[in-house]
Every structure is written in structure tokens, then in C-alpha cells.
């Protein structure tokens, strides 16, 4: 069993929802990413998602776009990110998932990207601009290196497409909670809850809901609707952005925020 499967099995045994935290690797610098990851893990996150930055992240809103830009400005590249993962693996067994864009994988060579990811200790990969239609090679490579290939499902995903995605996905299903790009929002929409209810009976894979989640109430709402976990990115990236000059304050606020969100998943 993969670390991702193990973690969801534990959560089910404890009858609890999971909390998945997203940050961009290298934001604001490769060195500080390690401290931020440690803080998030200490505060109780169940899975850590690391964005591998891309210059043109079309599925992301302004918050994560700017995080990508900060990371690239700090000279973050895939080699440095594999080093970050090695370091995290030195102190934690948390399931780690990469989120990136096709060109980053393609340029390194798909085979090499997946092999390096597996060697470093990455458990799953989601390529934001790779729909199921373009995934043949990635799926094959992911199987070779025992990496979970994670896919997005959106409110506009048809039942036919959903069927294809569920047939090939592993790890968990990443539900995009609303139409739009990533970013923190005030309210959780009914579309989200309906989507969870539509997908739930069709799969045994864990369901994680992301895009627009920022409060413990949001987390509770999606878990109550039948999801296994909630994913938060922009809200944490906002804390990073607002505390760039105050390392201690940044860590305190992240710790406090992640602990609070984790409570929402109970």
C-alpha cells in the first residue's frame, strides 16, 4: 500500500476527515520551504502537496501565481525541489504529492521526472493541464515507479468523462469545488456539495475537495457531504505572502491556521 492509501485508511478507521495542505515548493525560497513544510506537518496536516512552479500556471488564481513567481525568482528548479523532498523525508513520513504542469514534466523527460520523484519519496503526481485524454504515457510511467496518478474532477465533468477518470486514477480524486481557478473564497457553494454526492457512490477512491476552501466550516461542510479530505492552498500561501519579512510570525500563523483547519475535519 502506498503512503496515500495508508493515510486514508487510517483516517477511515478513526472516522475522521483529512486535511491536505498545499504550498509552492521554493516559495519564498527553497530553504524556507523546508521550515514551512515542517510547521505544516507538526500542526497535523495529513498530506502535503507541493507545487512544482511553472511560469504560466493557467489553472491557478493570482495568489498561487504569485507564489510561483516568487519561487522562480528564488531560482527554484526541479533539482532543488527533489532536494527539498529528500530533506522532508529525513524527518517525516507524510504522504507527498506533486502538483505541476505538463511542460515541467515533459522538459525533464517524463521517465526521468517520475523516477526522480519516486527516488526522492514522492507518492503522487497531479499534472494540472493533463486531462485523461493525454495521460496514456503518464499513467504507464506512474505505474512503473509506483506513483499515484491523481486527476481533477470538475462540476462540469460529464458522467462519461467521470467514468474514464475513475477507471484510471489512483491515490485520490481531486474534486474542483467550483468553476474557476484556485483561490480562497467566502462561501462554499452548493455545486461543491452536489459534486461530492455525485462522485461518492461511483468510487472507492478517497475524495479530496479543493479550490476555494479557507475556513474550518468549509472543511466540515465538505467532509459532512461525504468527502474524505479538504485541500487548502491559497489561504496558506496568503499567510506566507503576508509574512515574508517575519519568519517566526509566519510559522506561528501557519501552525495556528493548520491546527484550526484540522479541527474542522474532525
Amino acid at each position: 500500500m502506498s503512503r496515500i492509501q495508508d493515510r486514508f485508511a487510517e483516517l477511515r478507521d478513526m472516522n475522521r476527515g483529512g486535511f491536505i495542505s498545499f504550498i509552492v515548493a521554493g516559495d519564498p525560497s527553497p530553504a524556507r520551504t523546508i521550515n514551512i513544510a515542517r510547521t505544516i506537518i507538526d500542526a497535523g496536516a495529513d498530506i502535503l502537496e507541493l507545487g512544482v512552479p511553472f511560469s504560466d500556471p493557467i489553472a491557478d488564481g493570482p495568489t498561487i501565481q504569485q507564489a510561483n513567481e516568487r519561487a522562480l525568482k528564488a531560482c527554484t528548479n526541479p533539482d532543488k525541489i527533489f532536494d527539498i523532498v529528500h530533506e522532508i523525508r529525513g524527518f517525516s513520513d507524510i504522504p507527498l504529492v506533486f502538483l505541476t504542469y505538463y511542460n515541467i514534466v515533459q522538459k525533464r523527460g517524463m521517465e526521468k521526472f517520475y523516477k526522480d520523484s519516486a527516488d526522492a519519496g514522492v507518492d503522487g503526481i497531479l499534472i494540472a493541464d493533463m486531462p485523461i485524454e493525454e495521460s496514456t504515457q503518464a499513467l504507464k510511467t506512474a505505474r512503473t515507479y509506483d506513483i499515484d496518478q491523481i486527476f481533477l474532477v470538475a462540476p462540469t465533468t460529464s458522467d462519461t468523462r467521470l467514468g474514464h477518470i475513475l477507471e484510471h486514477a489512483s491515490g485520490f480524486i481531486y474534486l474542483v469545488s467550483l468553476l474557476g481557478v484556485t483561490g480562497a473564497r467566502e462561501k462554499i457553494s452548493t455545486t461543491t456539495l452536489e459534486l461530492v454526492k455525485r462522485v461518492r457512490p461511483r468510487t472507492n477512491l478517497p475524495i479530496a475537495v479543493g479550490f476555494g476552501i479557507s475556513t474550518p466550516e468549509h472543511v466540515k461542510a465538505v467532509i459532512d457531504a461525504g468527502a474524505d479530505a479538504a485541500i487548502v492552498g491559497s489561504a496558506i500561501v496568503n499567510i506566507i505572502q503576508e509574512n515574508l519579512d517575519d519568519e517566526n510570525g509566519m510559522m506561528e500563523k501557519i501552525h495556528e491556521y493548520v491546527s484550526r483547519m484540522k479541527q474542522g475535519a474532525k
Binding site: S55, D56, I58, D129, L152, A154, T156, V176, G180
Partner: protein, 391 residues
């Protein structure tokens, strides 16, 4: 799973939330494509509104100067000043048939934004145009024209604040509003079905050219030249001639300050393959796969990618791709104005500049056709500035 491929290039590299819209677009397009009523309506607008067919002008002075027969396909005479309207009228009508009430578009130089604003005005659809802050500053005239045509302009402040970032923002808008909004992409780039749709709406250029050259000369040309940014005017004129092996097809990319520098936009000549904005094609990128910044004196060529069909034509060696520097393009801009009284767009001046080089190896009876994709009104202020002239 080889949808929308040109050889190995193209494809649908789009986030899942967009797949519904891309499938809907593909379905609607194939339903309408051969529908007689739709074609009649489109032809009506192309003829009565855009001013098609455009002339194929024989240039006596330029022919004398170059030592071969030179023809210009006059897309500069299309309403709005460029070939862009062929596509925006086609897609505008498609949007209307799909019942979409709002169109978003990206623009670099402003020609596609203006052509979309024009089509939106005449077809009665709201238009919002994403344009990089940097381009808004460089292209004030087109910004004002778009606003006159009642389009709303949205400044883009992310990334390099130019065309590629305008595409990113338009895509993000579309992701958030897929159910009500039509994304009117301006070149033969993007995820399937865009490269096919835009190509089909621009094919009219080559279809007319073939008829015209056969009527005038009774034979096909030696070579056809067109500038290539995303590559829509080039595909438009090339496509009809692809089966005619004897006709050289030459795409001219923006060499900027020279392809040995980092300041150019020659994706095919100096780039490598990768995925940007939904398709696999040649790109300007670094070793990690980050998209590079580009430069060209012609804002319409200032884009790090190129249409996937061009990448295929390059690989199968059916078309040749070359680059022309800023200064060579500026010289050709002057030359065409002085010799023929035609002021070309700086984009199109790249094709004229390469024709000049090519003519050295041609004979008096050789025929070349240059696709004059747009007129230079939008560029005269900038050219005057570069010449140190105050207007």
C-alpha cells in the same frame, strides 16, 4: 487518444474544468462547419462587411527591384486592417449559434482584440479583451479603437504583462465562466479544436490566392511567404498549397535582435518542443521548461509559442522556417512604402524582408506571393519614434 494532433503536435493539454467547454466547442463546430446556412451567413459577412475577396496585387516596381515576379495578397485591405477579421467573424457567428452572450479574447498588438471588438459589435455580442499592461502602453491607437467598438478592455498585470499573460488570463476567465462565455482565440494555437477552427476560418486566404494566381499567371507560384507569430495568416495562405509540392512555403519568424541573443521570438527556428496554452509545439523555454520572454519590434509576433500545424510542417519538411531581425523588417517596411505606396504592418514586413533575400536566388520568371497580413497604420507612430522623428 490522438485528438487534434498534427503529426505528433497539438493535442488537448487543458485543465479538467475546461474540458466540458472544449468538447462543447468541438461538437458545435463540427455540426456547423458544413451547414449550408452557416456558410452562407459567413460568406455574406466576409463579402459585404469584411471586403473579401481581397486583391492579389502584382507589384511592378518591386518585381523590377527584386528581379522576379512579386505579388502581394492584400489582407491589409480587410476591414479592420488585417486578416484577423476572417477568424473573428467565423468564431463570432459560431458563438452566436452556440447561444453565448459574452466573448472573451486575448490580444497582443491589439489587431485580434480590435477584430473581435468589430465582430462583437456587428454581431451583437458583448466583448471583453485581455491585454497586457505593457502592450496597452505600446498600442494606444488600437486600445482606443476597441473601446469605440464598445469592447471592454481588461489590463493584465501578471507575468511579463504581454500576449502570453493575456492568454493565461483569458483562459482563467473562461475556466470561471465556461457556461456563459465563448473564448475567441486569435491564432492557430491553444488546445484542440482551436488550431483547426482558426485554420479553417483563415483558409479563405489561400483558396482565393490559388484562384487568382492561376487566373493571372496560369501557373502556381515558386514560393509563398508569410510571417509567423502564432501562425494564423501563414497557415491561412499555406494550407491550400500543401499538396502542391512544387510550391515552396516559407514561414518568417521574428528574429528580434538576432537569434543568437535572447531577444527574439523565433519559436521554430530557435526553440524546442514543449506544452504551452494547451498544445504540444515548438516553444521558447529554458532548460527547466519555464517559458522564456520574447522580443520583437512587431508586437503581433511577440509570442513564445507557435501553432502545432507549423511544427508538423517543419518536421515533415513541407514548409521552411526562417527568421528576420527587427532592423531587416524595418528596412522592408520602408522599401514597400517607397516602391509601392503600401505601408505594411511590421509583422508582414518580416515576410517582405525575407522575400528580398530569397529573390537573390530566383529568376525573372519565378513568381513569389507575399501574404501582406496587415497594414501599417498601427505601427507608424512607433516607426517614427525609432527613426527619431517627432510627429
Amino acid at each position: 487518444m490522438d485528438k487534434g494532433r498534427f503529426g505528433r503536435y497539438g493535442g488537448i493539454f487543458a485543465p479538467e474544468p475546461l474540458m466540458y467547454a472544449l468538447e462543447e466547442l468541438e461538437r458545435s463546430y463540427y455540426e456547423l462547419k458544413d451547414d449550408e446556412k452557416f456558410q452562407t451567413e459567413l460568406n455574406y459577412y466576409l463579402r459585404e462587411y469584411a471586403g473579401r475577396p481581397t486583391p492579389l496585387t502584382f507589384c511592378a516596381n518591386l518585381s523590377e527591384y527584386m528581379g522576379c515576379k512579386v505579388y502581394l495578397k492584400r489582407e491589409d485591405l480587410v476591414h479592420g486592417g488585417a486578416h484577423k477579421l476572417n477568424n473573428t467573424l467565423g468564431q463570432g457567428l459560431l458563438a452566436k449559434h452556440m447561444g453565448k452572450k459574452r466573448i472573451v479574447a486575448e490580444t497582443g498588438a491589439g489587431q485580434h482584440g480590435l477584430a473581435t471588438a468589430i465582430a462583437g459589435a456587428v454581431l451583437g455580442i458583448d466583448v471583453e479583451v485581455y491585454m497586457g499592461e505593457e502592450d496597452i502602453r505600446r498600442q494606444k491607437l488600437n486600445v482606443f479603437k476597441m473601446e469605440l467598438c464598445d469592447a471592454k478592455l481588461i489590463p493584465v498585470t501578471s507575468g511579463s504583462k504581454t500576449l502570453k499573460d493575456a492568454v493565461n488570463e483569458a483562459l482563467r476567465d473562461w475556466i470561471a465562466n465556461v457556461e456563459t462565455t465563448y473564448y475567441l482565440l486569435g491564432s492557430v494555437v491553444g488546445p484542440h479544436p482551436y488550431p483547426t477552427i482558426v485554420r479553417d476560418f483563415q483558409r479563405v486566404i489561400g483558396i482565393e490566392t490559388k484562384k487568382q494566381i492561376l487566373a493571372k499567371e496560369g501557373r502556381l507560384p515558386t514560393a509563398i511567404l508569410a510571417c509567423v507569430g502564432g501562425g494564423s495568416n501563414a497557415i491561412g495562405i499555406f494550407h491550400e498549397f500543401v499538396p502542391d509540392d512544387g510550391v515552396r512555403l516559407i514561414g518568417v519568424e521574428a528574429g528580434g535582435e538576432g537569434i543568437h541573443t535572447k531577444r527574439h521570438a523565433a519559436s521554430i527556428v530557435a526553440g524546442s518542443e514543449g506544452v504551452l496554452h494547451g498544445a504540444l509545439s515548438y516553444l521558447i523555454q529554458n532548460d527547466d521548461g519555464q517559458i522564456g520572454s520574447t522580443h520583437s519590434v512587431a508586437a503581433g509576433l511577440d509570442y513564445p509559442g507557435v501553432g502545432p500545424e507549423h511544427s508538423m510542417l517543419k518536421d515533415i519538411q513541407r514548409a521552411e522556417y526562417v527568421s528576420i531581425t527587427d532592423s531587416e523588417a524595418l528596412d522592408a517596411f520602408d522599401l514597400l512604402a517607397a516602391k509601392e505606396g503600401i505601408i505594411p504592418a511590421l509583422e508582414s514586413a518580416h515576410a517582405v524582408a525575407h522575400a528580398l533575400k530569397l529573390s537573390q536566388e530566383l529568376d525573372r520568371e519565378d513568381i513569389i506571393v507575399i501574404n501582406l497580413s496587415g497594414r501599417g497604420d498601427k505601427d507608424v507612430m512607433e516607426v517614427a519614434r525609432l527613426m527619431g522623428r517627432e510627429l
